[in-house]
Amino acid sequence: MFDTLTDRFDGIFKRLRGRGRLGDAEVGEVLREIRVALLEADVSLEVVRDLIERIRARCTGAELSKSLTPAQQVIKVVNEELTATLGGETFRLTYASRPPTVVLLAGLQGAGKTTAAAALALWFKQQGRHPLLVGADLQRPAAVEQLRVLGRDVGAAVSSEGTDPVAVARKGVDEAIRVGRDVVIVDTAGRLAIDEDLMEEVRRVAAAVEPHYTFFVVDAMTGQDAVRSATAFGEALELDGVILTKIDGDARGGAALSVKHVVGKPIAFVSTGERPESFEAFHPDRMASRILGMGDVLTLIERAEREYDQVAAEKAVERLRSGRFTLEDFHDQLQQMKRMGPLQSVLGMLPGMPKEVRDAQIDDRDVARVEAIIRSMTPAERDDPSLINGSRRLRIAAGSGRSTTDVNNLLRQFKEMQKLMRSGGAMGAVARAGGRKAKKVKGGRVTPSLKDAGSLR
């Protein structure tokens, strides 16, 4: 998500770059474009106005630093204001001194509450807690059954006893105390903000379980209604934060920018996929830099820390340094990387990626094909690809179900990268490959440019 917004800002900033001084007229033009970009990203009208005014005040004011170019100044201001609007500080969760810590989820139908409940349970487990899921959605057919299945998948117990949501929720908390669970996550039925009866019901559920945290769950694809609903829920319940779901699509995330602003509560978590493990704590500053196309390395590193096998990783780095990185290592890295999520989503977090690369559609099946080719090689071949002659090539192609051209492509690309790494060290190679223009390296060799790669399809 946020990609299209990123593109828009990219375009606006690019045009600024050539300018010397920025007069009021230029600033006005830039602000108009930012307004269009924000509105098309479903940012609430009210928030857009507010944001534009604040940026205008700062861009035309005396605040601008002399050492920065106009473009840099505007980018800096926009970045700071976006960060402020997105929520400033990162949400911090503290546990109740007397367990269980009770978490209540509320929101419209189809926002993703049940999926988020299971994901949250998994997240708590990763924090070393013992969550209990409570299915208080008695409205939608089979909602409780869905929670039971998800609970089983993430290894969290599910409680749903009774025929009234309030009683179910209360019993759930009692059950948690009885069996010694320290976190209770209450999933409620989806409801419209204007449905008085149901809003009253969720109010009673909240009164019965006295949640320590009440999260409003909202779909990233929501339009201007996000603000209206969030306001209504905020009036009925004491919200502590927002869970933003389905941000793995190409919705531009305006809801993210708006909801915090109107509810006055930070976005606490985002769900980046349908599976419970695609769920993470939200960092407003990182999201702002992602919108501005500056990547999100911190999240990437966190994911790497969570998913990477440390010993293997160190070995790989060592081999990269010494230039002895083989196809076997490459294959290992591929496995590690797959655990961090789809390549596409990882790509969006890398800084300095040209638009062409960010936009490239990477089908994870292509990754599987690369794997298949490598797996069809003998250990000796993986260690030293120069062994691979014509007949071996045919065998590998047949074994992996690919054509010899595919095998050749992979080998050639791998060789190029190896050379690069030897010539300039791993970091250098990566920096150059990631760079926009660097098509040539010291030796005058043409390196595979990412731009070309992006346009291959």
Binding site: P141, T222, L350
Partner: protein, 393 residues
Amino acid sequence: MTVVLIVVIVLLLAVLGAGTMTVVRRNQLGGADRPPEPEVRDGDAPAQQLPEPSPPGEDRGTPSLDGAGSASPREPEPGTVEPGRQERAAPAGTRPRLSDRLGRAKSLLGGSLTAIRGRARVDDATFDELEEALLLADVGLPLTGRLLEDLRSRVRSGEVADNPTALLGALKADVIALFAGEDRDLRYAPESPSVWLFVGVNGVGKTTTIGKLAARESEAGRSVVVAAGDTFRAAAGDQLATWAERSGAGIVRGADGADPSSVVFDAVQHAAARGADLVLADTAGRLHTKVNLMDELRKVRRVADRPPGHVSEVLLVLDATTGQNGLVQAREFAGAVEVTGVVLTKLDGTAKGGIVCAIRSELGLPIKLVGLGEGANDLVAFDPEEFAEALFS
């Protein structure tokens, strides 16, 4: 193949991920090892669930058939109460109207355009307010710009009178005109069974819409089979089974994680064998950006269209709260599976669903049905006039 990109990225990550790890490790001065791996590692492999016991004589093992009307297909889940929402719906026999449902939303919004009506003349502020109303309804900037530009020139030429009421009336007429010539009928294939396929992103209300349509079509005297093609979301099949039971429609289900195409295939076979008229095929919600899932959907459509089945409707279900992304969704789904119409759900809340204007004007897709609540009767034909009225209420 995007081999180049993959090679580059993997290496990038190898350096980035592994490199920072060593730094982190060093900073920790060889402190505690990594926290233990979370217990639940791989959600990729759906728990191998045994399919419901299939009646003997089935040619395939996976999907099971729950005959309509016969013994209760499933025991009700403990704690899953029969939703009592129908009581909240309009009394049986009368279909709810959008305008009936608007009363509730109106009080909350307080009528954003009251200021306009109070003015004597049309000026820039009037147009600003109209722009605001359209943007707040999620009509989107490009279409809003076009509508207002056109209106402005008509006011200038005197075609539209220079007073706010006339202006608002003209704008409403323009919105209604967007939907002129729309064919909103739901199509049946000349030969049974017809297949209606339901597609859309996650959480828009596909399963609920099918539940309502199953009730409606059964009521109209057609024999209906629903295909629980959402084999991904936990208990989606159970949800559909509850609806099928209520309406007396037959249901064909697959094991969790089964190929949706096979479930739809079996549903069509089952419908043909039973002489049923209509198959309503559910699919798992999917974001239109997921190439592999869109491919899967293409396959479902292909398989459903194989004789004896005939796909006569592919309905894109769209949540009224959807913002500008709705247009992209519609474009992608239409490109993948030849969408024949749109179902706009959850219009009974504060959301206006203005994005369908853009969808209609850009892609020419007809808006066929509107969801106004959770009851079986709360699915009605789209009415442009009521919709336009609601847009500015």
